[in-house]
C-alpha cells in the first residue's frame, strides 16, 4: 500500500464532508410566478402570525411569498433586512427608535423616516395596535388589595416577578422603579412561568405585553401607567425601499393593512395560536378572510411539503455548522494533542483547559460569544469548535502516548527526522484513537448544534425551540428526530471513513 501521511488523509476526509454539505441540492421550492417577496419574523407568536399575514397579502397581490419564520431576534432580522436577505418584517416603534436607531438624534417622525431612508428602508402606516409593556395582576388579587394603577404598588409588600429582558431594558423595570419609587426587588422568571406563578399565587405582579392572550385567559388586570412611563410600541411593516420597483403591487397592497389590526384582534390571533394551538398560518388566513374576504390558504404548500422543505433547509444549516466547526476543531486539536504529548509538563494544563471548556454549559458559552461575534452562525460555530477540542486533543494525545516505546525508538534509530517520524509512524499508529476522538466530537457537535436555534444560526434547533415555545410536540420532533438520525448517520460515516484512514495493519487484528 501507498503511505499517505495521515493528517493529509484526515484533512481530505473533512474536505469531502464539507464539499458534500455545500454542494447538496438546495431543498427550497419556488412555485408561483410574479416577483418574490421574502418576509422575515422574530421568534415569538405575534411576529410569526404577522409574517404569515404579510405572506398572505403578498400572494393576494400576485407575488410569490417566502416566509422565513422565527429568523432571529431584533438584530438578526434587521441586519437581514439591511443586507437584502429579506424584504420586510413587522417591527415596533419603541424597538426601532430606542434599540435599532439608538444613538441617532430622532426629534420627530421625519428624523426616523430619514434614518430609515439612509439605510434604503421604509416603514408602513401603523397596523393599528400598540404592543407596549404593562404590569398585570390577577383581577381578584388586585381588587382585594385595591390596586388599579402602578403608583398603588409603592410601599406594598407584593411578590413581583418579571422577565429577564424587562429587568435589563432601560425602558423596562429601571424606568418603572425610578418613576414610581418602587423599592421591591423583582424576581426574574421566564414569561410563561410567571403566568403559572400568578395562577398559583406565588407571584402577585408581572410584566406583560398588551397583546398577550393570557390577559384574557388568566383574567388579569392591566395596571394603569398613571405616570406615562411605558412608551409606545406601535406595530408597522419595515420594508426595503427597492420593493416599490421590484414588487409595487405588494407595497400598494400593504396600505390596506393600515389600522386594520386593532388590539383586540391581535390579542385574539395570539390567543388562537398560544392557547388553542392553531398554526400561525391558519390564524393569519382566517384574519385575511374575515377582514378582507381574501382566500389565500391555497397558496400555502401542503403540510408534508412544508415539513420536508423545512427539514431539508434545517439539515443543510445543521450540517454546515457541524462541518465548519469540526474542520476547525481537527485543524487545531490534532496539533494541540501532538504538542501536549511532546511536552509532558504542559500536557496536564492543556488537557485540563480543553476539559474545562467542555464543562461550560452551551448557554454560558453563547453569553460570552454573542457580544464578541454578534448573532448568527459565527458564535454557533465557535461554540461547537470549542466543544470539539477535548475529544480530539485527548484522542490524539492518548493515541501518541500509547505507542510502545520500542516502536518510537525504532523510528528514531532508523534515522527518520522528527517530521517523518510523526507523519509516517506516529500519527498512523495513533490514527485509530484520533479518529475515535473525531467521531465523538462529531456526534457531540450534531447534538450541540441545536443551540443554533437560539441565535439565528438555523439548524434543527429552530424547530425544537419553536416546538417548546408553542408546546407543539410534532414541531419539536421535526427537529429532534432528524438530529438523532443525523448523529447516527455521522457515526456510521465515521466507521466507513475508519476503513480508509486507519492502516490495514492496525485493523488486521493482531
Amino acid at each position: 500500500m501507498k503511505i499517505l501521511p495521515v493528517p493529509t488523509r484526515i484533512l481530505a476526509g473533512a474536505l469531502v464532508v464539507a464539499m458534500m454539505t455545500l454542494t447538496a441540492p438546495v431543498a427550497v421550492a419556488a412555485p408561483a410566478a410574479g416577483p418574490v417577496v421574502r418576509i422575515g419574523s422574530k421568534p415569538f407568536t405575534e411576529g410569526i402570525v404577522l409574517g404569515e399575514v404579510l405572506a398572505g397579502v403578498a400572494r393576494q397581490a400576485g407575488c410569490a411569498a417566502e416566509h422565513r419564520a422565527a429568523l432571529g431576534g431584533t438584530q438578526i432580522v434587521f441586519a437581514a433586512l439591511e443586507r437584502g436577505e429579506i424584504d420586510c418584517y413587522v417591527e415596533y416603534s419603541g424597538t426601532l427608535e430606542r434599540e435599532i436607531l439608538r444613538g441617532e438624534t430622532l426629534r420627530d417622525p421625519e428624523d426616523v423616516a430619514a434614518a430609515l431612508a439612509r439605510r434604503g428602508l421604509c416603514r408602513s402606516t401603523p397596523l393599528g395596535f400598540d404592543n407596549t409593556y404593562a404590569l398585570g395582576m390577577k383581577e381578584t388579587v388586585a381588587a382585594g388589595a385595591g390596586i388599579e394603577a402602578i403608583s398603588d404598588l409603592a410601599g406594598r409588600d407584593l411578590a413581583i416577578a418579571v422577565s429577564d429582558e424587562f429587568v435589563r431594558r432601560a425602558d423596562g423595570w429601571p424606568a418603572i422603579r425610578d418613576a414610581y419609587g418602587l423599592r421591591q426587588t423583582p424576581r426574574v422568571l421566564d414569561h410563561a412561568l410567571a403566568y403559572r406563578g400568578l395562577e398559583s399565587g406565588h407571584v402577585a405582579v408581572t410584566d406583560l405585553y398588551a397583546t398577550d392572550p393570557e390577559v384574557r385567559a388568566h383574567e388579569l388586570r392591566i395596571l394603569r401607567d398613571d405616570r406615562g412611563v411605558f412608551r409606545e410600541y406601535k406595530a408597522f411593516v419595515l420594508y426595503r425601499a427597492d420593493l416599490a420597483t421590484r414588487a409595487p403591487q405588494f407595497v400598494t397592497a400593504l396600505v390596506q393593512l393600515a389600522g386594520a389590526i386593532e388590539p383586540a384582534v391581535m390579542r385574539e390571533m395570539n390567543a388562537r395560536v398560544r392557547l388553542d394551538g392553531e398554526p400561525e398560518s391558519a390564524v393569519a388566513a382566517r384574519f385575511l378572510r374575515e377582514r378582507f374576504g381574501w382566500d389565500v390558504v391555497a397558496a400555502e404548500p401542503a403540510a408534508a411539503v412544508r415539513v420536508a422543505r423545512d427539514v431539508g433547509r434545517a439539515t443543510l444549516e445543521h450540517l454546515a455548522l457541524v462541518a465548519a466547526a469540526l474542520a476547525a476543531a481537527i485543524a487545531v486539536a490534532v496539533p494541540l494533542g501532538i504538542y501536549a504529548q511532546r511536552r509532558p509538563r504542559l500536557a496536564g494544563g492543556i488537557l485540563g483547559a480543553v476539559g474545562i471548556l467542555q464543562t461550560i454549559p452551551s448557554m454560558a458559552v453563547l453569553v460570552f460569544l454573542v457580544p464578541l461575534l454578534g448573532l448568527g452562525w459565527k458564535p454557533a460555530v465557535v461554540a461547537l469548535f470549542l466543544y470539539g477540542l477535548l475529544p480530539i486533543v485527548r484522542g490524539t494525545f492518548n493515541g501518541l502516548a500509547g505507542i510502545p516505546p520500542h516502536l518510537r525508538e525504532s523510528a528514531e534509530v532508523l534515522g527518520l527526522d522528527g517530521r517523518a517520524r510523526l507523519l509516517r509512524v506516529e500519527l498512523p499508529l495513533a490514527s485509530r484513537s484520533i479518529l475515535a476522538g473525531i467521531k465523538t466530537a462529531a456526534v457531540i457537535a450534531v447534538g450541540t448544534a441545536t443551540i443554533g436555534g437560539l441565535i439565528g444560526a438555523g439548524g434543527y434547533g429552530e424547530a425544537i425551540l419553536a416546538g417548546i415555545r408553542r408546546a407543539d410536540a410534532g414541531l419539536l420532533m421535526q427537529g429532534a428526530v432528524p438530529a438523532a438520525v443525523l448523529a447516527l448517520l455521522i457515526q456510521a460515516a465515521c466507521d466507513v471513513l475508519e476503513r480508509f484512514l486507519v492502516p490495514a495493519g492496525l485493523r488486521a487484528g493482531g
Binding site: M1, I3, H406, L407, E409, S410, A411, E412, V413, L414, G415, L416, D417, A420, R424, V425, P428, L429, S431, P503, A504, G505, L506, A508, G509, G510
Partner: protein, 279 residues
Amino acid sequence: MPAMTTQPRSTRCIPDRAAAPSPADGPMIALDDVAKAYGGRWVLEPTTIAVFRGTTTVLIGPSGCGKSTLLRMIVGLVAPDRGTVTIAGRRLDAGSVSDLRRRIGYVIQDGGLFPHLTGRDNVGLLARHLGWEPPRITARITELADLTRLPAAALDRFPSQLSGGQRQRLGIMRALMLDPAALLLDEPMAALDPLVRYDLQEDLRRIFRATGKTVVMVTHDMGEAGFFGDEVLLLGAGRVVQRGTLDDLIHAPADEFVRRFVSAQRFPGLSGGEGRNAS
C-alpha cells in the same frame, strides 16, 4: 590515547592494534570515557571501547550490567553524562545523529517492525523517505530477501501475520537497507524458540561474513557470544570486567564474578572450548 589515566575506575578495552583485523583507518566505533548515571547510581561507569571495521564484538553480562545502555549510546538513544562517541571518525552529537544513524543498522528483539506497514514498506520506509526511485527500492528489497532467506510472500504481509523468525529477518533487512557500515543488535534472538533461533544464528553469521559489516551484538547467552564474537566483553555492575575471546573468559577468568558467570551457563563445550565457539 585519551588522557584517562586520572580516572581510576575507567576501564580500557581497546584491543591490541596488532590483533585487530583491519586497523588501517582507525576504529569504526569509539566510545571514549563514556559514563551514565541514573538517580545518582552508575549504570555505566567511565568506559573506553573501540570497535574496529569488519569485526564482531559481543557485549554479554547479567541484566542491568549496562550492556544495553552501551549499545543505545552508540545510536544516540542514551546521551552519555561524560565522554564522547565517535562513529567512523565523526563525533556523535545533535548535528550528526540523524546522519550517523543512517550509517548504522539497528536491530532489536522481535524486529521492532511498525505494525501499520507491510514487511516491504517497513524495509523500504527510510529509502522512500530519502527519495529512492521505486525500482531501486524493489531491487534492493529482493536482494535482501535472498540474503536473509525470507520467503517472498512474507514481504507483503503485516507484521502481525508473520512468524517471529520472519519478523526478525525483516528487522535485519530493514537495518541493512541502506547498506550501513555497522550493524548493532540488541538481543536479536531472545524472543525466538530454539530451532528458529538456531537457523537464524547460522544465517546471521553468514550475513556478517558475506557483507563484512562491523557488528556489535548484545546477548545474555554465552554460547551465542562465542558463536558470533571475534571479541567478547563481559560487563558486570556497570563496567567491563573482562574482554577477550570466549576461551579467555572460560579458561582465564579475570575474577570471581567472571568465573561464576561462565559456570552458570549450560552449553556444550564449556569444559573443553569445543562446540560452536570453536569455529
